[in-house]
């Protein structure tokens, strides 16, 4: 039965198709394949962009901009693709050429596709059509012109994956995905789920709000973060085995990350440019770095406004400052010291009496007179001065060293101020939670005011 059926079903003789129609069919097929190519080429970067936008966008709750950006990306992709297609030769001609190549048609299909039959002798056209039809019968479009993934798609996919993975795996990039306040808010949300840590959640929420305050400088933000971090550290030490220690640990990590970020951004512009001699003993010598010793920190913070941005634009100055033995070590050590001390100072709202002994020791030119701490400046000096953001201290006239035969660098090293000096940042008096601040007294006025 089966045998008979097989015998009876003789294969149909392939009906010869008009070659022009075959060319048009192939052209349509190519158009479809082009469309697939376009979509496949555009989708991976689009997906990656959407992912990145969502990753960073949800954090900043800016769905409108995400949608807009995604639409713009899609439109740009489609426009590029349309441009490429316009630049390509007419598709019928290309299809005819492909058919010729496939069946060794020696430009039969191309001649038929491009030559107007009205101008050509009919009998020759007919003959050519017959020849092409015989050749075309050998062509199976599905078999001979299958859709194949283009190299461009693979490149696009791999590049998109690399970008997404890089974003996920590379911590600085990943952390850049969401803003600092958003991360702190996230931590607050986590803490709010644990009842006995609700108070901490509120603290973190308040901190996130403060971090968004544009009026606060990075230094102030950092101090706030450090303050909260310290509190959380204390709390987590107390409840090490208790419930919510994990959540607290996470919050701590987040705050540490935020603090690092802020420190980094501060360090990028924080260079103190001074002509004072730098003859420290290798510790705390880099007074211009973001985290210097206690004293250095103060002077760095004040000088940041004056020379910080300029320092950022001229990074080579920082390296010049650091040159010397133990410059980096001093910077690092000073940073640690400065960190802990400043947080403490801000928390207690009074001027630290320590002079950065735990941090990098800084010997600036002449010895800073030791003894009792300076008097509170604001109260004695009146409101006029306290209202100012900074106190700018005119540097006293310098006395230069003997210049006989000394080189320029040596001369510079010999420059000494006549009196010690200090510049101290003042807090904003109009800040909401401004603590009663006590400011350092500029050294040169100490004697006069006292």
């Amino acid at each position: 039965m089966v045998y008979r059926k097989t015998v009876n079903s003789t294969p149909k003789v392939a009906k010869e198709e008009l070659p022009e129609r075959l060319v048009v069919r192939l052209a349509r097929r190519m158009a479809r394949q082009d469309l697939y190519d376009s979509l496949l080429m555009v989708f991976p970067p689009l997906g990656a962009s959407l992912y990145l936008l969502l990753f960073s966008g949800f954090a900043s709750r800016n769905l409108g901009s995400i949608t807009l950006a995604a639409a713009a990306l899609l439109a740009a992709g489609l426009l590029v693709r349309m441009g490429v297609r316009r630049a390509a030769p007419p598709r019928v001609f290309v299809a005819a050429r492909l058919l010729d190549e496939r069946v060794d048609g020696k430009e039969r299909f191309m001649t038929l596709a491009t030559l107007g039959s009205s101008t050509a002798p009919f009998f020759l056209m007919e003959r050519l059509r017959q020849e092409a039809a015989r050749l075309g019968a050998r062509v199976d479009l599905g078999r001979d012109f299958p859709y194949r993934l283009k190299h461009s798609f693979l490149v696009s996919l791999i590049a998109s994956l690399i970008i997404v993975l890089g974003f996920r795996l590379w911590p600085p990039m990943a952390s850049r995905g969401s803003s600092d306040p958003a991360r702190v808010r996230q931590a607050a949300k986590e803490l709010s789920r644990i009842p006995h840590l609700a108070e901490w959640a509120r603290t973190l929420q308040a901190l996130a709000d403060r971090l968004q305050d544009k009026h606060l400088s990075a230094d102030e933000k950092r101090q706030l973060v450090q303050e909260t971090l310290k509190k959380i550290e204390n709390q987590s030490e107390q409840s090490r085995q208790g419930k919510g220690s994990d959540a607290l640990g996470q919050a701590k990590e987040i705050l540490q990350g935020v603090e690092r970020e802020l420190g980094k951004s501060q360090g990028q512009g924080g260079e103190l440019k001074t002509n004072l001699p730098q003859d420290g003993k290798g510790k705390g010598k880099g007074s211009g770095s973001g985290g210097g010793s206690g004293d250095d920190q103060k002077s760095a913070a004040l000088s940041k406004k004056d020379s910080g941005e300029a320092g950022a634009n001229r990074p080579e100055q920082g390296t010049e400052q650091k040159s010397g033995e133990g410059g980096q070590g001093g910077e690092k050590k000073g940073g640690e010291g400065g960190k802990s001390q400043e947080g403490k100072k801000e928390l207690e709202g009074k001027v630290s009496k320590e002079d950065g002994k735990s941090g990098g020791k800084s010997k600036v030119g002449e010895e800073i007179p030791k003894g009792s701490s300076p008097e509170p400046y604001g109260e004695t000096a009146g409101a006029g001065l306290k209202d100012g953001r900074f106190v700018t201290v005119q540097l006293p006239e310098e006395e230069t060293g003997k210049s006989t035969g000394a080189s320029d660098s040596e001369k510079r090293r010999e420059v000494r101020p006549k009196v010690p000096l200090g510049n101290v940042p003042l807090g904003r008096p109009d800040a909401r939670d401004a603590l009663p601040e006590r400011q350092h007294l500029p050294l040169e006025y100490r004697g006069m005011i006292r």
């Binding site: 001609f93 020696k106 430009e107 001649t111 030559l115 020759l124 056209m125």
Partner: protein, 328 residues
């Protein structure tokens, strides 16, 4: 005429010529293509390669009238086109035009570069206009008409190289090369024995009509616009002035003084159409273009001094063009 008929007649003529000529298949084919395309051919080769025999055999196979003119420095134009001669008949004297050898259908202008330019130019009008003017009177030439000129590339002393204008009137310039050892052996067999094979007449008595039909069919052969564009690009690329910008071809810029004329493009297309028919097709392919590109353009490119100093041939420049000019 049907394409098959063309192919058949062409093959039979080719076969007759090949009875006499050993080797040179490509030269024979190109000469025949030029003949059916209505062009003239310049054959270049050292003496003794069978150029004259080739032309003689061809005329015999075609069954057309044949005349040979041996060009020498003292050859006069009247020796080619003919002259008025005083004749006496019925008691009165009158001038009568005596036709020269140019009035045959197949002309062999042997060593054309040995005649003076004045005589060479006498052939010009005949080649292009298919007519001659003597003493103000114009005489038409028989059709079909083909001039097959030969020149020796090595004996240049006492020769008058053909001017560019005259060279341009030849559809093809074919280089007749020395035979391969096997071909030489066959030549010896055929020519040193007692039997001397001769080409028979391939066309019947109405050969001229058949030839005209074949010529007409050749011009109807289909050619796709992209292929025409390719020819245009090729010919345009031979112009040194066109070589500007990133896609310039340094060989053309450095080695050519002048490129091919529009007549060069016409020669390529006509030759390609003939080649297509010979290969059993009714349409031109890129293959046909490249097959006739060298004979159609090699005598139309004027080499620069640098090219001559460096012994660069036009064929080398054409090979570069084929490589560098894109098909699409």
């Amino acid at each position: 005429m049907e394409p098959e008929q063309f192919h058949e007649v062409f093959s039979s003529i080719e076969a007759e010529v090949k009875k006499v000529i050993v080797g040179h298949d490509d030269v024979i084919r190109k000469v025949l293509i030029a003949f059916f395309a209505g062009g003239h051919v310049l054959l270049e080769g050292v003496p003794g390669l069978g150029k004259t025999l080739l032309v003689k055999s061809l005329s015999r196979a075609l069954g057309l009238s044949f005349k040979r003119v041996q060009f020498t420095p003292d050859l006069m134009p009247s020796d080619i086109v003919g002259t008025q001669m005083l004749t006496e008949g019925d008691g009165r004297r009158e001038f009568q035009f005596r036709k020269g050898p140019i009035f045959a259908q197949v002309i062999l202008a042997d060593e054309i570069n040995r005649a003076t330019p004045k005589t060479q130019s006498a052939v010009l009008e005949a080649m292009e206009e298919r007519q001659v003017t003597v003493f103000g009177e114009t005489y038409g030439l028989e059709s079909p008409f083909i001039v097959l000129a030969t020149q020796n590339p090595i004996e240049l002393e006492g020769t008058y190289p053909l001017p560019e204008a005259q060279l341009d009137r030849f559809l093809f310039k074919l280089v007749v090369s020395s035979p391969a050892p096997a071909e030489l052996k066959e030549i010896l067999h055929r020519t040193t024995g007692t039997d001397h094979p001769e080409a028979g007449q391939a066309l019947s008595d109405n050969g001229a009509t058949v030839v005209e039909e074949m010529k007409s069919l050749l011009r109807q052969v289909l050619i796709a616009p992209p292929i025409e564009d390719y020819v245009v690009r090729l010919v345009h690329a031979t112009q040194p002035a066109s070589q500007k910008g990133e896609n310039s071809i340094p060989e053309v810029k450095n080695f050519l003084r002048f490129g091919a004329s529009p007549r060069g493009a016409q020669s390529i297309i006509l030759g390609a159409k003939g080649s297509a028919l010979v290969n059993g097709r009714v349409h031109v392919s890129y293959e046909d273009i490249e097959a006739v590109l060298y004979p159609a353009l090699r005598h139309r490119l004027i080499l620069s001094f640098q090219a001559e100093a460096e012994n660069v041939a036009t064929d080398q420049i054409l090979a570069v063009l084929v490589k560098k000019v894109p098909r699409n």
